[in-house]
Structure formats: C-alpha cells, structure tokens
C-alpha cells in the first residue's frame, strides 16, 4: 500500500472543552486509486485533507505515504516531503498574481535546489499543454478566467509528480460547466500520473465522477449513501 492511515485522530481545545474532529480514522489507498470525500461543513473533511497534506499534525494515529511517516520528520524534512510527495489543489487557486502562468506552475520547484530545472520547465509546459493553456504561458492570473486559474493550479500540483494529489473543493468556485471540465481534467491527469487522488467536496456531481466515495460522519469515513449534501 502507498497510503496507509491508521487510527487517525484530531481534536482542538476550546473554551467549552475538547472538540473532536477526526476519530480513529483508517484509510488505505494505492497509486492510481482515487477517493471523493463528502460530508457536511465542519465534519472534518478539510482537516483530514490538511493532515494528509502534512499541513497539520494529527492528535493521534499514524499516516504513512510510500512507507514514510511524515510527522516523524523535522520541519525541513517535512517541507521537503510535502514538496516532493504531495500536490495540492485548493478551492481558491492561490496563484501568485505577480507571476506568469508558467512561473506559477514552477513555484514548487524553487523549494529545492537539486532539481533538473530545464526538465521541470519542459514538464511544466507539457502539463500546461495538457490542461489547455499552452497559449497562455505568459499570462498573469488576473488575465485568466476562474477555470483557467484552477487549471494552472492543477498543473502546479503535479509539477513534481507527487504520490498524493489532494484537492479541496477544487470546483467550488466554478460554474457547473467549468467545474465539470476541471474535474475531468483532474481525473485524467490523475490517471496519467498514477497518483493517489483524494478530493474533498460538497459536489455530488464531482464525487460521482470518481470511482469511490466516502462520507465523513462523526470524524470517521463511512460509505457514502449517495444522497446529496
């Protein structure tokens, strides 16, 4: 298995006591597999995604990706882990407005000095070609539509060939048609890149485009009932 999550728990201290968000959550996935996680707001979907993205630490349990336990790493190693193993697509594209499309895709590569820059640039161009933006390489985010910006973000998430591709409401800010196109693109690239792909969404339509869906209930993943949210 490439992704193994066991007994994962996350809670926050509050004035009125401890707030448990994730409770003994288990998950196992292999490369090429994908999962849509649905659930109501505040159910802990995004928290799970942030822990899987090594952006947040669990209160309990373990998480291993390609046999590596990220939370045992020091801060620099953890950053490197995130850089090389994980790709993120956010609901807000979080593109750097001062950078061009191509540059935005290459931003993660700057975190590591020991990379083959020409090769990565070529890969960035390829990825942008694959997301249909080969003609917009020098454009700034402000000159792109919402769908185009999200496609740039998708290309950026894949630039370093991550093992795990995480998407947090990737179509949440898009209209239906664009959302569908972006979802298809994500899935296609996921298949091409053979990543483990987890998407957190409220969108039933997007969830259904993935072969597997789970619902976050009481801090645990449960089989999705297929009902809308």
């Amino acid at each position: 298995m490439s992704l193994v999550v066991q007994n994962l728990g996350k809670s926050y201290p509050t004035r009125s006591g401890e707030l448990v968000v994730l409770r003994d959550l288990d998950l196992e996935m292999n490369p090429g597999e994908s999962l849509a996680i649905l659930g109501p707001s505040g159910s802990g979907k995004s928290t799970l995604l942030q822990i899987l993205g090594a952006l947040d630490r669990p209160t309990s349990g373990t998480f291993r990706l390609r046999d590596q336990e990220p939370f045992s790493l020091d801060d620099d190693a953890l950053a490197r882990f995130r850089n090389r193993r994980i790709g993120f697509v956010f609901q807000d594209h979080h593109l750097l407005p001062q950078c061009s499309v191509l540059e935005n895709v290459l931003i993660p590569t700057l975190a590591d000095d020991n990379v083959d820059r020409p090769a990565l640039e070529a890969r960035a161009r390829t990825l942008l070609d694959r997301v249909g933006l080969s003609q917009r390489l020098d454009h700034r985010p402000a000159e792109l539509s919402g769908g185009e910006r999200q496609r740039v973000a998708i290309a950026r998430s894949l630039i370093l060939q991550p093992a795990l591709l995480l998407a947090d409401e990737p179509t949440g800010n898009l209209d239906r048609k664009t959302a569908h196109a972006v979802a298809e693109l994500l899935l296609e690239l996921h298949r091409q890149e053979q990543t483990i792909f987890i998407v957190v969404t409220h969108s039933v339509e997007l969830a259904r485009m993935l072969p597997k869906q789970s619902e976050m209930i009481d801090g645990k993943l449960a089989a999705w009932s297929g009902a809308g949210l």
Partner: protein, 1137 residues
C-alpha cells in the same frame, strides 16, 4: 523561473508596499547619515572659515609687546609680515556718531597681501576698510572716519607713575577711507578665527607707527610656511630693543644730560647761563675760559666719572626673567637698582617732598643698609641737617590699590648715616627717564604728574636740588626692603648697572634671554584654528543622539510596513509553504526582498541625507541668535561619514527586516491559506507573555539604574548616556507592559461589550502592529517632551543677588582698558559728567574686572576654546557675595588648599564646552604661553559668566602680570535707574569702546543658542510624530480594509456611520494615548536627574499645550483616516463575503 527572478518579480508586483518600505529605509538612512553630515559640515565649515580668515598665515608671533618691525624679515619663512595690531572703536564723524567697538586697526606693509602696492609703505593718512566694518558704520570710500585706540605708554599704568585718566588712555586717529575691500581674502583676516566676520581697518604701518609714537615698531609677526629653525633664528635675531631694553653706555647717557641743560639747543656747546649751578664739580672743572660747556666734555666726564653701563627698560621696570638672565650672565658684575618716588621724606625737623629713594646692591654704597636702615643724602640746603644716626625717618609714599587708587602709606626707617652727595651718588641716572618729569628743568614744570602733586609743597630748596641734581636719589635703603615696599608684578628692579664691553654684555645677555619668557612664542595659528574647528561639541554625535529616536521611529515604521506587507501576502506565503517551501526558504525570499529594498533605500537615503543635513544647517543658521552668525555653515560630506552612515543604515535596516520576518517560523500554512494573517499568528503565540514580562522588568531596572547613575554622573558624556539610555530602556519597559496589556485585551471576552471596549480590543487582535504604532508615537513623543523639558528661559531669580546675575542688572565690556574708578567723583569730573549724571552714577556701583582676552568659552563659540578668556575678580567682589544661595560660590576662589589656581566656571560651559567638572584642571596658557594649572573648584548656575573662566584677581595677576586695566564692568543699579545708567555710561565711555548691556540679555543670548539647538531637535521630534501619524493612519486604513466585511455586517445590522467611526477610532485613540503616554512618561523620568541636579524650571504649561496639540493633531488625523476609510462601499464587501 529562478529564486532571484521570483524575488525581483515580487518586488515589482508588490511595489506599493515595497515603495513604502523603501521610503521608510530611505528616511531612516537620511536621518542617520544626515546627523553625521551635520557634524561633518560644522567641522568642515569651521575649518574652511579658519583657512579663509588666516589666508597665507601659518604661524603668528604676538608677544603682547612692541618690537622692531624689521624682526619679521629676519625670520626664516616663505612669507613674513610685521603688523601693528590694535583693537579700538571706529566712529563716524558728526554730532551723533555711529560707532563700531572691537574694530581691528592693522598697520601693515605690502607683504601683508592687500592690493595697494607702495601705498602700504607710505605714511598716508588713509585707511582701507573691509566690507563688514564699512557696512556697520554705513561708510564708503572717500568718507572720513575716526578711531579711538588705547594709547601706548611705556610706564605701566597701574604703577605710581602710570597715567590713567581717560584722555591719557585713549588716543584718537582720523583718516580718510581710501577703499572698501570686499570681505574676502586677507580683508577678512582674523588672528583668532570666529564665525563673526572681523571688522578690519588697514593702515600703512608707518602712518600708524607715527600716530602712536611707535616708530619702527610692530607687535605682531605673521609667517607663512616657516622653516623649522624658526625658534633658533628668532633667538639669534632678537636685540635688546625687541625686549624693550636699552644698555646705556656713558656716552649715550651723556647726550640726554647735555640736552636737558638746554632742550632747545642743537649745538655742541652751552653757555654758562645754561649750565651754571646744574652740573657736578668734576664736570665744572672741564670748562675752559670760554665758559662753554662742550658736549664732548660731558661725554668725557661720563666716560670717566660715570663709567658704567645701565640696563634699563622702556617700561621703567625690568621684567623678572630679564633680571634673572642678567644676574646669571654677569653675576657679581651686575648691580640691581630700584628707585621709588616718595611723597615725603621726613627726618629730624626737616622734610623733602617728591624725593627719589633708591636701593641697590652695588658695592661701595653708603653704610651697610639692612632692614629698616636708611641713609640720607647731605647736600646744599639739606632739610635734615639736624638728623642724627639712629633717629627715626618717615617716608610717605603712594601705591596703587586693586582699583588703582593711590593710597598714601608710611614706612618708618632708622637713620644709619648721612652721606655727602658726590661721586657715584651724585648721579641723576639712578632714575630711568620719565618723560614730562625727569626731562624738566624745574619741578614747577612737571607736566601733569600722575601722582598726587601739590606745587605749594615744593620749596625753594627743593627746586634748587632739582636744578642741580634732578632725579638723583636723596636717600638709600636696603634693596630687599625697597622691593618689599614698592615692588610690583611689573618688576622690582628699575636698572642694572654693569661694567665691561657693551657689545659683549649685550651678546651674553641675549644668549641667556629665553624669548619665550618675554612672550615671544610662535603660535601655530592655522594648526590651532583647525584643531579648534573640530568644535567644542561633536555635533554629529549630538544630532545622532537626538536623531536616535527618530531613527528608531523610522525603523519601527519600516518594521510595521514589512509586517503589513506580510499580512497582505499571507496566502502567498501559505501557498509557498504548502508547496514544500521551508519556512527558511520563504524567509530567505522575503529577507532577500528586504535586503534589496534596504540597499536601494539606503542609497536613496544617502542622497536625501545631503538635503536633510543642508536643511538642518539652514535651520540652525536661521534660528541662531544675533543675525547671520552661522551663515558660513555649508554642507561638507566626508566619504567616511557617508560610508559609516550608509553601512549602519543597511545593518540596522536588514536587522529590522529580519526581525519583521522572524514571524514566518511561527506560521501555519494551513492557517495562511485559510486567510489568516501573520498578525493572527503573532497574536496567538503562547509563551510571549513571560518574555515580555522579563523584558519589562529588566528594562525597568536598567532604566532605574541609568536614572540613578545620571543623578551622580559628572561628565557630559555620562550624563547624556544616562539620559538616552534611561529613556530608551523606559520606552522598552513601557512598551513591553503595553504589549502584555494588548495581548490580554485581545483575548478578552466581555459579556457586556461596548463599542469603545470592542475598539480597544481590536488593538489587541494584532498586537505587533499595534505595538509598533504605539512605539512609533512613543519615540516621537519622548523626543518632543524631553527636548521641550530641556527648553529654558531665564529664571525669575536671575536678577536677584543670589541668582546668575549676582544682582547686577548691567555689565559692560571694552577692548580699551579702564584704569579709573568709576565710583569716584574725580573720575566723573574727568568724564565731564553733568550734575544729574553724577547723581545717577553716585547711586550706582561699578565693579571693574580684569580680562585676559581669549576664546569665548560659551555655547556662542562653535570653535573649541583652546585658550579660554579669563576674568579676574577683585577681593571686594568675592566678599560681596551673590551668584548663589547662602554662601557665595565666589568665596571658593580664595581657597588655599587647592593644587593649582582655583577657578569657577558656569555649569553649562563646564558640561558642554570645556567638558570638565569640579576638581578637574583647565589648561590656561599664562603670559609666557606656559600651561598653568587652573583647577575648577565650583560651578555657577545659569550665570552671566558663561563665556569665561573666573579666578581671583591676585591669581589673575600672577598668571598675566603684564595685563593692565579693567575691560569688564559689573554695574549695580536700582531697577528704576537701570535704563538711565546704561544710557549714561554708554555715552560717557563710548570713545573707549565700552558697550553696556543688561546681564539678562547676555543670559538670554546663551539660552537662545541652547534653545536653537533644542528647537532643531524638536523638529526631529515633529518628524517623528509625523512618522507616528503615518504609521497610525496606515494601521487604521489597513485595519478597516481587513475588517471591511465585519464593518459591513455591523452596518447591515443597523450600526450608524458615527458608531462605526467611533469603533475604529477607539482603537486608534487607544494606540495614540498609549504611545504618547509611554513616550511622555519615559521622557519625564529620563529628564528627572537633569532637573534635580540643576534646579531648572520645567515649563509645564508649555509642555501641556504641546502635548495637547499633538493629541489633537493625532485625533484629527485618525478621524480623517476613519472617514476616508468608511466611505468605501462596505456592503459590497459583505456581499463578497
């Protein structure tokens, strides 16, 4: 894409924020480098002024006496010029003349370097004015002008025979203005360079020499590029004439004797009528049948009967160093003589008025006189024929007291023997020549004797004695006793008798005489001027010290701007972190941006520093009291200062960037991506409470230590260090406390919230931002309050006897010394005062003080005083009291157990200019140029004597024995008489150049200088407040922008615009009050030792008004920012949310 390209891209994309940071760095650099450039400029300007005013002159010889003008040409230098330099008063002609006191009259030759060619070698009665002098009198070429100068006199005026009446002291010279020279080159010449342009009148030296009866004399030699052998060459070139000495041979003495018998005769023989009864028997024997007295016979008589050499001084008294040198050179061959004019010698039943008494250690004198022994001459008509050895002889005589009153005194002697007046004793040359007395045929012809003289007392016998013996002594006493009774600081020997070859003796003597002991000491005036040009106060450091808080304020602003930029770029940073950038890499990126901004900003600041320094110099010059005193200030920027300033600005700027970016290590990418800012992260940091607690405690303790140290510190640096150190630490302590309160406020939960409390709590939401703003305001407030606290005005007690004026409402100064007592009716008559004026003067009291000219030691003089002006206080003034509460500090001048000469200086002068404290030694060069040890025994507070060093008169006269007269007057007068006295004294003494001014004016002039500095520093404070206001406005606008949705919601919920404004304003008012409060409290505590030490008065009302004004301006600025911010469409923001 590379790291550096991203960095550059970021810089250009976030240009607005970066521009603000750039401006902040540039401002900080400008202030820092500018402060150093102000110091550079002052030093550079003084240096330039020195070089300009001295022109080609490197070295000067001004021994304070007259010497042969040809001496200059014998000295080894590329250029030399002998000058006759006098200081006097220039005056226009007419009934209501304009006068210019302190005018330099320079008798020069062509060598001096003023265009005019042969004119300068002539004796034409014409004068060249420099522009400053012409301007002050409103004169032009062709106009006539009159000068009043001190009349040079051989005999010291403060001796029995000295002439002291005003008409005998002042001489008028009239001339036509030939040309008015522009104030440049040698026309600006000043031996002691100063900011005030010298008022120079240039005469042909010969003209001035003739007018002043100083033919062939000069008193100043100017040398350009002298050789190293200068001292040796001077020693070789000097003659006895340069020392004011003459070694009179018998033949030389015979001539005046012959001339005396018939002053109108120019022939070589005199008829019997002229010599009969007036020559010694042995000379009489040489007269042939023709009954003519031949000049050659007189010479032959002298060479046979009076065959000795007489070393005499033009000043009657031979300087003690000269006496020592002669005694060393000639030993037993030399015999010292001292004569004095007795008012009366009474012995037995007879007495003689105006008789000369002599004392000498010459071998073969009558009796072996010791102690109170006296030997009386016996001659035809002797008044004391019946006096017997062992009987009492009374000698009445006059000696001048400290105010030059001739006080009659008596000495009792015991008659040892009477001796016949013949041979070597029958010799009028025992007494040196004294024009108007010794050259007169009869006593009734004496011209205006300077001593009390009653012609009625002169009997027929006395006239007969004079006719025959003239100045021959009528009595001898022991030399030590004579010197004890009548010796003075001018000398105790009037002649030295020598035998031998005159040339050889002269040569031996000159070899022994050390020129330095006669005041012939070369002054390296250019070197000294340049050294003094380094300034008494390091303005660079002073400006830097006062700019410190402004620099801190600009750095805080930079820090604030960087943090706001970070807040704005939170999501961007979050993304970088989320995509695997380490916090270190992100920090490097942001720090890289910061470093580039700092480098560029510092470079811009370097240019701005020149403008800033120029503005500060202009401000100083414009606000300097008494006109254009500092108009010479020009910008001088040394590369060293610029490099140091620029590098320091970069180091400090980069440090600020590092500090501002250090929050990155605490950031959670998740939180950033969710829209939280760096400010949120800072607000949530746990454990900072303990750190701030320790910061507060340690800073407070450090500040207390500094305050306590400041109360006991003596040195100016230590006091300044204590002030700035305690101020800074107190600010840190207050801000640490404020930080804790802000954080606590930010975490508060209020069940019954109010708008005000909500607003204040908002300040705690972003505590870093808030504390930086408060810090900005606090730094500026500190500077404004501290500077204002130092602002001073003359205290109410100044005019009281215990105050700084000593109870003297008026004082007067002049370059021409006064020798008369202005309290005496005789002087009033001499000055032609009318009855009304005499009554007025009778109600006033005049206290004359002695002055050794030197450098002004007060803050008015930007040069470092290398040779401070010294004032001698008479004993009567010292015991009069005043200048301090209870026991007068003046009494300290009479302390005996002091290692050195006790002196008093003003506290401000001691602290800021001379940089000494009680117990320290000030090097004061004495008359020979030797450094005398003058020890500070006390300090005067807020006194009128800030320009000088005060010593007791007796010590003054030891230091400067040849200095004569009084050049400073303290005038006591009833308040209702003050104006009238001022007017009357100014008018009566105008010719002598006396300028009478209120003492309060002098103090206010000093205070005005201090307040000029403080005003300039207050501008720095105002700039700081401006920065604070900018910071506050930025925080306010940013806060509103960030909370636009929140505010929109509140409006949607029915909050009025006014309430929303107050919500926002409350936060800013809170920060404003916090900053101002912290700054004021820190300033008041830091300046406390200053006030406890000096008793100065705090101008509370002024301070209160100033702070009130700052608060109002701050509130107004905040209100405007709120109004502008709330005009944005908030509901749009709400919909967007």
């Amino acid at each position: 894409m590379t790291f550096s390209r991203l960095l550059l891209r970021n810089l250009s994309y976030h240009w607005r924020g970066n521009l603000a940071v750039l401006a902040g760095v540039a401002l900080g650099t400008a202030v820092l480098v500018g402060a150093l450039l102000v110091g550079d400029s002052l030093r550079g300007s003084l240096r330039a002024l020195t070089l300009e005013q001295l022109g080609w002159v490197d070295v000067a010889l001004a021994p304070g006496r007259f010497f042969r003008d040809e001496l200059g040409s014998k000295l080894p230098a590329e250029r030399a010029s002998s000058v006759l330099l006098l200081t006097g008063t220039a005056s226009t002609l007419g009934s209501d003349p304009l006068t210019a006191a302190g005018t330099n009259l320079l008798g020069i030759d062509a060598q001096f370097g003023i265009e005019g060619g042969e004119f300068w070698n002539s004796n034409q009665a014409e004068v060249a004015f420099n522009g400053s002098l012409a301007h002050s009198l409103g004169l032009k070429a062709g106009d006539r002008v009159r000068f009043f100068v001190h009349k040079e006199e051989d005999i010291p005026r403060e001796t029995l025979l000295g002439r002291r009446k005003s008409e005998e002291v002042v001489q008028a010279i009239e001339a036509k203005i030939r040309v008015v020279l522009p104030d440049e080159g040698m026309a600006r010449f000043a031996l002691r360079p100063g900011p005030e342009p010298a008022r120079n009148a240039f005469f042909p030296r010969r003209f001035l020499q003739e007018k002043l009866d100083l033919a062939g004399k000069a008193n100043l030699i100017l040398l350009g590029k002298p050789a190293e052998t200068l001292d040796a060459k001077l020693h070789q070139a000097m003659t006895l004439e340069d020392w004011g000495l003459s070694l009179r041979t018998p033949a030389q003495r015979a001539q005046p004797f012959f001339r005396h018998l018939d002053p109108r005769s120019k022939g070589d023989e005199l008829k019997k009528l002229r010599w009969q009864g007036r020559i010694p028997p042995k000379l009489h024997e040489r007269i042939g049948n023709d009954n003519l007295l031949h000049r050659k016979d007189v010479v032959a008589f002298y060479e046979r009967e009076r065959n000795y050499l007489s070393l005499e001084s033009q000043k009657m008294f031979i300087d003690p160093p000269v006496v020592s040198a002669v005694m060393q050179a000639e030993g037993k061959q030399a015999a010292r003589t001292f004569i004095y004019l007795a008012d009366r010698i009474a012995a037995g039943k007879g007495e003689a008025p105006y008789a000369v008494i002599a004392a000498s250690d010459l071998q073969g004198m009558p009796g072996s006189l010791k102690n109170d022994d006296i030997a009386l001459a016996s001659y035809e008509g002797t008044p004391w024929k019946d006096a017997k050895p062992g009987e009492k002889v009374v000698v009445d005589y006059y000696v001048p007291d400290e105010r030059n009153h001739l006080a009659k005194q008596s000495a009792k002697f015991v008659l040892k023997e009477t001796y016949p007046l013949e041979g070597m004793l029958d010799d009028p040359d025992w007494t040196p020549e004294f024009r108007g007395i010794t050259d007169k045929l009869s006593m009734s012809d004496w011209e205006n004797p300077p001593f009390p003289y009653d012609a009625k007392r002169v009997k027929n016998e006395d006239e007969k004695f004079w006719e025959r013996h003239r100045t021959t002594p009528r009595a001898f006493i022991a030399l030590p006793r004579a010197q004890e009774l009548w010796g003075s600081r001018f000398g105790k020997v009037t002649a030295i008798r020598l035998t031998g070859d005159a040339k050889q003796i002269s040569s031996n003597l000159l070899a022994k005489l050390d020129p330095a002991e006669g005041g012939f000491v070369f002054q390296k005036v250019k070197e000294q001027g340049l050294r003094a040009g380094s300034g008494s106060t390091d303005f660079g450091v002073l400006f830097l010290s006062f700019s410190f808080f402004l620099i801190v304020a600009s750095l805080l602003l930079v820090g604030l701007l960087v943090r706001l930029n970070l807040d704005r770029r939170g999501k961007e940073i979050g993304l970088l972190l989320a995509t695997g950038w380490t916090p270190g890499a992100v920090r490097r990126l942001l720090l890289g941006e910061g470093i580039l901004l700092t480098l560029l900003g510092a470079l811009i600041g370097l240019g701005a520093a020149r403008l800033y320094a120029s503005a500060m110099l202009r401000l100083l010059a414009l606000s300097w009291p008494e006109g254009a005193g500092l108009s010479f200030l020009k910008l001088h920027a040394t590369p060293l200062s610029q490099v140091i300033g620029w590098a320091s600005a970069i180091v400090v700027g980069v440090g600020t960037m590092w500090w501002a970016n250090r929050v990155l290590s605490k950031l959670q990418p998740r939180a950033l991506l969710m829209g939280e800012s760096t400010g949120d992260a800072e607000g949530g940091v746990a454990g900072a409470g303990a750190k701030s607690w320790w910061t507060m405690i340690v800073s407070a303790l450090g500040a207390i230590a500094c305050v306590v140290a400041g109360m006991f510190a003596q040195g100016h640096e230590a006091k300044a260090g204590s002030f700035f150190g305690s101020g800074f630490l107190l600010l840190v302590a207050f801000l640490a406390f404020a930080w804790r309160r802000l954080k606590a406020t930010g975490r508060q939960s209020d069940p019954q919230p109010s708008l005000t409390r909500l607003g204040m709590r908002n300040a705690g939401r972003y505590p870093v931002r808030s504390i930086l703003t408060a810090g900005l305001l606090a730094s500026a407030a500190f500077l404004v309050v501290a500077v204002q606290a130092f602002h001073r005005e003359a205290g109410k007690s100044f005019l009281a006897k215990e105050g700084g004026s000593g109870g003297f409402p008026l004082f007067a100064e002049s370059n021409v010394p006064l020798f008369q007592d202005l309290n005496q009716p005789a002087t009033w008559n001499d000055l032609d005062l009318n009855d009304e004026q005499q009554k007025l003067w009778a109600r006033a009291t005049f206290w004359p003080l002695r002055v050794q000219p030197g450098d002004d030691a007060s803050c008015l003089n930007l040069y470092q005083p290398l040779k401070p002006r010294v004032v001698g206080l008479p004993k009567s003034l010292i015991h009069r009291g005043g200048f301090g509460p209870e026991v007068s500090p003046l009494l300290l001048l009479e302390k005996e157990d002091v290692d050195g000469i006790p002196c008093l200086v003003d506290g401000n002068t001691a602290q800021w200019i001379l940089k000494v404290g009680v117990g320290d030694v000030i090097d004061v060069p004495d008359e020979q140029g030797q450094k005398a040890k003058v020890r500070v025994v006390g300090l005067l507070q807020e006194s009128l004597f800030q320009s000088e060093v005060l010593v007791a008169e007796r010590h003054f006269l030891k230091l400067f024995p040849r200095r004569e007269g009084f050049q400073f007057l303290l005038i006591e007068a009833a308040p209702e008489d003050v104006d009238a006295v001022r007017k009357s004294v100014s008018s009566a003494l105008a010719q002598q150049g006396w300028v009478v001014r209120p003492t309060l004016d002098r103090l206010q002039l000093y205070l005005a200088v201090e307040n000029t500095y403080l005003g300039t520093f207050q501008i720095l404070g105002a700039l700081g407040l401006l920065l604070g206001a900018v910071g506050l406005a930025i925080v306010l606008v940013r806060g509103v922008w960030e909370r636009r949705a929140e505010l929109a919601l509140l409006r949607a919920l029915g909050f009025s615009g006014g309430k929303l404004s107050w919500l926002v304003l409350a936060e800013n008012v809170f920060l404003l009050l916090l900053g101002l409060g912290a700054g004021c409290a820190a300033a008041i505590l830091a300046v406390a030792p200053h006030f406890m030490g000096s008793g100065a008065e705090v101008l509370w009302l002024r301070l209160g008004l100033l702070l009130g004004g700052v608060l109002v301006v701050g509130l107004a600025a905040a209100s405007l920012a709120v109004r502008a911010s709330l005009r944005s469409p908030l509901l749009t923001a709400l919909r967007r949310e």
